[in-house]
Symmetry: C2
Subunit: 421 residues, 2 copies
């Protein structure tokens, strides 16, 4: 029986095949995201992987349904697996914001889903690090959020030679559009054309822009000038003061596809341009009002960083360290008559915080030892009965290959990594 197309299985390392995904690497990524977010004062939240379909269409319109993993449940509800986290966050924050001091600085690591028919071989799920700030209109919040994005990638070993955050502004584009537009109501259409400039043939972009009364040349001049708005200047000064200036540049080619952004927007890319965006986000000051039906009106901003592109980038830059099983001690059972006594040592070591493994059944001593080496154990312990019937413990350091002879009760003090609770 096969898994569904577009979904991943995550295996323990060493991986069974080159195509397999690593559960160890995934957990390392999640740990790093979590640690960095907490260090920046962000708090974790989560919502259901399923939401009413309406939560997503109210924000993005019915055309989004074509990309959703949606269905009708047994209670005849229109449901969708979440394609992004922001609507869930807006729903949760709108319901509970009165109980929290503003601004909220929240993060989550949801699995997200989409269903596009034509995309063969494309993943239908990924995990995404989401961080958002709710309740602060000042650009200081945008800078703090972007600092988190930069520091998250740095924590994984990436430097300013590896990636850059391209910073733009929906406001700057709105102004540009407003000053020149012949049809003021079609701004979103215009943004969509700009969003595709890097991928689209110039003639097609030019034709599409002409239809709205613009020329590709004028748009390119605006992008080339890259004149930061006052908000962007504040963000750049703030990040510069943190010593993060080299990680960010103004780039109006970035505009973000989603309809709901209202202010600064940004995307992180690898400097070599080999991959899709590593992360992206921006300000969405009107979304909470929309989701809450006008009840709650708070400015907000956030970003998302997916696990797939990031994993590809880390691999390409040699930043994925070899994973070992994480076993500290292997207890070797060479004398089956001492198995129960050995189990006592296993338990005691585990209680002090050691990761311990042993052979469940009788196995040749050399095979047990070889397995301990494979598992990356730092020490082996084996109980030996002497000619006088007394039991001693042989503790071997697998790095130095030195072996100590101890009484069985002295093993735990010699090897424990923490004191008993």
């Amino acid at each position: 029986m096969e898994r569904l197309p577009g979904f991943r299985d995550f295996y323990p390392e060493p991986l069974p095949s080159k195509e397999a995904w690593s559960a160890d690497l995934r957990q390392r990524l999640f740990d790093s995201w979590r640690t960095t977010a907490r260090r920046h004062g962000f708090r974790e939240y989560d919502g259901p992987p399923l939401e009413p379909l309406e939560l997503f269409t109210v924000k993005s319109g019915d055309e989004i349904v074509g990309q959703l993993y949606n269905f009708v449940d047994k209670g005849d509800r229109e449901i969708s697996l979440r394609p992004e986290m922001t609507p869930t966050l807006a729903r949760m924050a709108a319901a509970a914001e009165r109980q929290y001091k503003k601004p909220l600085k929240w993060f989550a690591i949801p699995q997200l889903f989409r269903y596009e028919r034509q995309q063969k071989g494309r993943l239908r799920e990924h995990f995404q690090f989401n961080a958002d700030i709710i309740g602060e209109a000042d650009p200081a919040a945008d800078a703090e959020l972007i600092a988190l994005l930069i520091n998250t990638l740095r924590e994984l070993g990436l430097t300013d030679a590896d990636f850059v955050v391209r910073l733009s502004s929906r406001l700057a584009w709105q102004e540009f559009y407003g000053e020149r537009a012949t049809e003021p109501g079609r701004s979103y259409e215009f943004f969509q054309i700009v969003d595709k400039l890097e991928r689209e043939a110039p003639e097609r972009s030019d034709a599409a822009l002409q239809a709205l009364g613009f020329s590709l040349e004028a748009v390119r001049e605006f992008i080339a000038a890259a004149r930061p708005t006052d908000d962007l200047k504040r963000i750049l000064d703030d990040l510069g003061a943190r010593g993060l200036g080299a990680f960010v540049k103004v780039d109006y080619l970035v505009i973000r596809g989603l309809a709901y952004y209202t202010g600064p927007v940004f995307e992180a890319f690898d400097r070599k341009g080999e991959f899709r965006a590593i992360a992206g986000g921006g300000r969405y000051d009107n979304l909470l009002k929309l989701i809450s039906g006008g009840r709650v009106d708070l400015p907000a901003l956030g970003f998302g960083m997916g696990d797939v592109v990031l994993t590809e980038l880390l691999k390409a830059r040699g930043l994925v360290p070899a994973v070992v099983a994480g076993i500290d001690v292997c207890v070797l059972v060479e004398d089956e008559g001492l198995r129960l006594a050995s189990l006592r040592v296993v338990q005691q070591l585990r209680e002090t915080g050691c990761a311990v493994d042993y052979s469940l059944t009788s196995m040749k001593p050399d095979k047990q030892f070889k397995r301990a080496v494979e598992l990356g154990a730092a020490h082996t312990v084996r109980l030996v009965r002497g000619e006088d019937g007394a039991i001693s413990a042989r503790v071997k350091n697998l790095r130095t290959r030195e072996e100590q002879v101890l009484s069985p009760d002295a093993v735990v003090p010699a090897l424990s990594v923490r004191h008993p609770a």
Copy 2:
């Protein structure tokens, strides 16, 4: 807009309402599960939350569909959200087992789903710690698995006064049934009646048993005798050697509802009998063969432990510690002219591993200080410009209330929790 019935939102503490679920407590549970599993030599894996419906019906028959969160996807596939992890594990292990040394000791922390129409107010999802051993038929594997279950609960602060693992055997029941049955093919029906003995009225159980040629009295005698099979004796000896004998007892009232168990089965209960089972599992030696269509035939066993009952139990026993925001240092910006210099300190402290927060915008000094106390910060740092224009840093220890005056560059060495990488 509301979330779907039966699903939970997880909020950061302090919680917005008494009914709200804590994302912090959930993470603490996951961390504890993960740490304990690794300490026992178990490795993490995960599969998709969606699987082909057939993966679940092949094992449990079509009657299971009434309890599944299943639907038809846009590609006309019959799909289900996973109601349990074992079929996914069996699928993954059957596909890759040749690449791993046996036995596999694997764990996962999946979210599981079910959809029962009648159950108002009942949750339709929960998280479950799953641990399994694949490829070892010896009862030593059952003991190792049960030791993990016991140590997992102990790690959370529960003792042998709080819970017990009730150990039983499908083999013992099969033997009992086989020796007395008039209709050998109806053993699973018989097991289902035994499984409900504790909850069902005695007359109804008796009537149901009579229909299969048994009496309630004979069944009760068998349970009261509690004679361990050879396998159970081996398991008890093994756990006893580890010093875990007080956490386990033979109890044939436990039989487990699922059809696929083949040997020892067990459930962990609170001693006071206030809650549903905390965890349950057993041996399922035929499942991999079934799932793999006969390709792979490996003995296996596992258990699941849900987050909902466990959370209730921990709360009732006072074992849920108060969660603090986890902020180490609050940087107070009392002079807006020093905001950029303060941001530099924020960044430097975070780079050394400190969790740091600060006010994004201008705020009165006493309010900033109050916020630092609320966040549980150990220290505050504020930059002050002296009359001579020189900037100094005031570092306050919020426990002793002592304040040091340092040069701004001396703040990081004074407070850092780790050295820069």
